[in-house]
Amino acid sequence: MIFGLGKKKAKQGSDSVEAPEAEKSKAKSDEDKKPSKAAKSQADAPAGTALGASRLRRKADLSGFEFETTAEIEPLHGLIGQDRALGALQFGAGMPESDYNIFVLGSDSCGKTAAVRQTLEELAKSGATPDDWVYVHNFEDANAPNAMQLPAGRGKALAKAMTDVIDELTSTLPAAFESEDYLSRARALEAEHSGSHEARLQALSDKAEERGIAFLRTPMGFTFAPMLEGKVVKPEAFEAMPPSMQAEVRQNIEALQQELETILLEVPRLEKSKRKHLRLLNEEVAQYAVNSALEEIITDFGDIEEVGQYLEKVRADLVANASLFLDEEASGATSIVPQTIDSSRDPRFRRYMVNALIAQPANRRGAPVVEAVNPTYGNIIGRSEHLAHMGALVTDFLLIKPGALHTANGGYLLIDARKLVSAPFAWDALKRALQTGHVQIEHPAESTGLVATQSIDPEPIPLNIKVVLFGDRELYALLSRADPEFQELFKVQADFEDTVDWDDENLRGYTAMIAAVSAKHELAPLNREAVEAVIEQGSRLASDRDKLSLEVSRIADLVREANYWAQKAERQTIAREDIQRAIAEHIQRGDRIRDLDRETFERGIVMVDTEGEKVGQINGLSVLQLGDFMFGRPSRITARVRFGPGRVVDIEREVKLGGPLHSKGVMILWGYLAGTFAKDKPLALSASLVFEQSYGGVDGDSASSTELYALLSALSGVAIKQGFAVTGSVNQLGEVQAIGGVNEKIEGFFDICKARGLTGEQGVLIPKANVQHLMLREDVVEAVAEGQFNVHAVATIEEGIEILTGKPAGIRGADGKFPKDTVFAKVEDTLATFARRAKEAGSFDDGPGAAGQSAKGATS
């Protein structure tokens, strides 16, 4: 249960409950209609507390507006009543400094996102179209891809042109290396080098042969042996030769072997020389093909200095690595079915591709306005994706994907703040980008060292962006408090109003807004009465008869649902009954819990009296909220008193079901009792207060006046009329203060009474300050008008207790005493009796008192 819900919205002022003259006369007329029971109830009440039907709901009257349906009204462009927020937005967007980012505050349904987007898109039209950004291979460091900036629309063209260059080279480079010119020159080189080597070996062989020595190959090298008539001499034959001949053969073999060693040792040098010359030849041939392929792209992009430098590096790399293009198997040149070469998919050529990270559409004019729908780290900062290769995850510059910061660079980025701070690493990454003025793509896991994959370190891209965060006030406060950098980076807050004053100017705006909803969603037009009904619902949503809710999406939902019911009823225009039907159906769809709750009252499971009188028992009111549906329900509150050590036991607090605000309210009671009845004597009272059949938490102080009435009844022994329910907080002086959810609370009690049968003596006491918030359901208003139900606005406890008991509260006279037979006189008598007994017992304590605590601080 939530007591005091909506307190923030409630105005705690001294608004007069006096109705305007016109309403006064109507109220009088309404009151004239009341039957005798109502008249009796009114008679018991202090003058002016009973509210006439006209005070319970404000009716919209657009009779002064010249239209029959919304089709005749110019739809609203933008929002009404948001000048402050939109001014802040314009200011933030116009500030060139990077730390003047914008935080848009407001309720979820106030239409702020659409309004901000519309405003920024208007501003963006006159902004400069941002440049394209591409990532290219870094030929010096492959793990640190380079970022290049190109005029808008040329990034994709560069990527396409590079693909074309590679496609062309896959044909022209192999052709160049298969040309007769190249082959003949290569053969000449080959012949020059290996020929000389071969020739020298052949010459050595010939020389050996001349000397009668055989030059032979062994499995591992070469050898020489004595030879005769073309055949190797058998050892035994050699031994038979004269020693001088043998010596000569040995010398010859020795000399030939030395010569052989010299020839063979020169092979590496010859090979090196051959490779060098072949490389120069290859470069010369490749240069020709590469220059030809690059000619067009250099002409097209040579005006961009950075691209020109990049193309020079590409040229050098292509020439040095022309062999990449000569692998026939990989290129598919020998395939049975010739295949189209997709250069970007061929791993050999990826380094020459261009990743057009940010490529502005050709028709883009102005700055981008981008909304990050799912603001995860990767979606904000960008990411480098990975491919599985041989069991490892690898990446390169072509796998870099842009984030929202990239796509919105040069313009505006819209992010839901709650989603952003909920996404791991995303908030810190955004701040880092704004602080450094660069967007740096890095894998978040790298910093933690949890993932061991190949990573790249792309060159950061300069950031020129205005970030617009959307959130509620709670989140704004939280971020301001918890993150010192937040205020540094988001210096502009665009605070959207929740409500707007109900005046003629805003009514016109509201009507135009309704027309805009109808036009945007292509709905049937609304007639005047339907618009009036929407306006009244707007006021109800604002919980204030002098305000109109700016929850645009809820208003739009209402109109769209009404359109549905109008179509069902085969009406061409949306009428008041369609609006009412939509409201009723919306409530009906969401009020299952309320129905179950009502049933517990009807079946007597939850005990609440709506007739008769009881001492120390009263009906309090609370509000339950389920989603956007709120409803009120009564609760029985009872008070018991006895002589005691001076304490009020708040049973809710004792069992830890009471929240701090509730406890505060109970403590205030003590102050009121002590100040009013025990200025000169000890307050020897022991009292207990409880919300009967309450099994959930209780918070808020909107029941404090109710509890005080119960306590006064218990102390005085004067019964309280159970046909009343009460809401309102109280201060130590006995003034009844405004609370929230007043409409739901009244309707909640009304529904219970209605189910049991309205008697005309039933009603609700509300704080006087809440009269301005009354926008009750029409059936409640009708019941009041017919005298079947009552709503009293009270300013003080004295007024309230008189209505509840039908007896005067009592005003202390010149003798310092309350008049006899007044409620307060009886209270004072009881307290005096307690004090006397305590004095007799010598055990009282007249400390300040506290709910749930004795004066000495001991808890029971």
Binding site: R250, E254, T334
Partner: protein
């Protein structure tokens, strides 16, 4: 002869791949052996010849072996040469077995210690007349004599396959080098059979017509077209008149980027004496029909 086998559409014969202990074997020779075996559905016999004279040399105390890099020279011993034989033989056996698995052909390995030529002649004689000899080591400029000796000594072989120092390509059209009408039929049929091994995907058969002068060339072309007019004909390509220069025919062969060349031994394409133009130009295996 294998040409006869091809002409008669017979499917038999054996490929004898001769590998000597004294020289490194070229990859192209292995691939050539495989292609012929596939084309003629024959088995492959790897003949590893441990050269007897290298063993004999170990008896010389002063004979030394210089490594291929020239960095090391050491006395040659019987133990060392035996070890080198075993090592080389083991490596070649592995290559052969791998080759057999790839083309799903039976492979036999024979090791013999002898002089290379008699060893080859004896092995071919043992296997019957329908052998094709594939030489593992590339031929050199002066290998013409050796090729002639093999063709003369090894009677039980219908052809001889050899590779040049630059022979690395085995994919491409099969070129039949035709220099006269007598051998034309056998050469073309053999080329067609070789081309059929891969379904003709590498370019089919090109009949390269080689003659001294235009007149002879024109006559040869006419005869060739007449000879094949009744059925599927190869693609004809006329080489420039050679004017007695062997380099012209070699260059024409190179320009066709052949995967295999079929030729007769002793003509202008493959002369008896100087093979240097062909060794510089030949980029694929060469099939010499007897």
């Amino acid at each position: 002869m294998i040409g006869h086998v091809a002409s008669a559409h017979e499917a038999s014969g054996r490929v004898v791949l001769r590998l000597t202990s004294g020289a490194g074997a070229a990859d192209a020779a292995f691939e050539a052996a495989a292609r012929i075996a596939e084309a003629f559905q024959s088995e492959i016999e790897g003949l590893f010849v441990e050269e007897r004279q290298l063993v004999d040399l170990t008896a010389y105390g002063f004979v030394k072996e210089t490594s291929l890099t020239g960095m090391m020279t050491r006395p040659i011993s019987a133990t060392e040469i035996e070890r080198e034989f075993r090592s080389a033989c083991h490596g070649m056996r592995k290559r052969l077995e791998r080759l057999g698995r790839q083309i799903e052909t039976r492979v036999i390995t024979t090791i013999t210690r002898d002089d290379p030529l008699p060893a080859l002649a004896r092995t071919c004689a043992a296997a019957g007349p329908w052998n094709v000899v594939v030489l593992g080591e590339p031929f050199r400029a002066r290998s013409g004599v050796l090729l002639g000796e093999i063709l003369a000594s090894v009677r039980d072989a219908t052809g001889l396959v050899t590779v040049g120092p630059k022979s690395m390509r085995t994919k491409g059209p099969v070129v039949a080098a035709i220099e006269n009408t007598d051998r034309m039929g056998g050469l073309v049929r053999t080329a067609e059979r070789l081309a059929s091994a891969d379904g003709g995907r590498n370019g089919g058969v090109i009949a390269l017509l080689i003659a001294d002068d235009f007149h002879h060339l024109s006559w040869l072309e006419t005869q060739a077209r007449l000879a094949f007019s009744g059925g599927p004909a190869p693609q004809f390509f006329a080489a420039p008149p050679t004017r007695g220069e062997p380099g012209v025919a070699a260059e024409a062969i190179r320009q066709l980027k052949a995967g295999f060349v079929v030729a007769q031994f002793g003509g202008m394409a493959v002369p008896y004496d100087d093979l240097s133009p062909l060794s510089a130009a030949l980029e694929c295996p060469l099939f010499l029909l007897r």
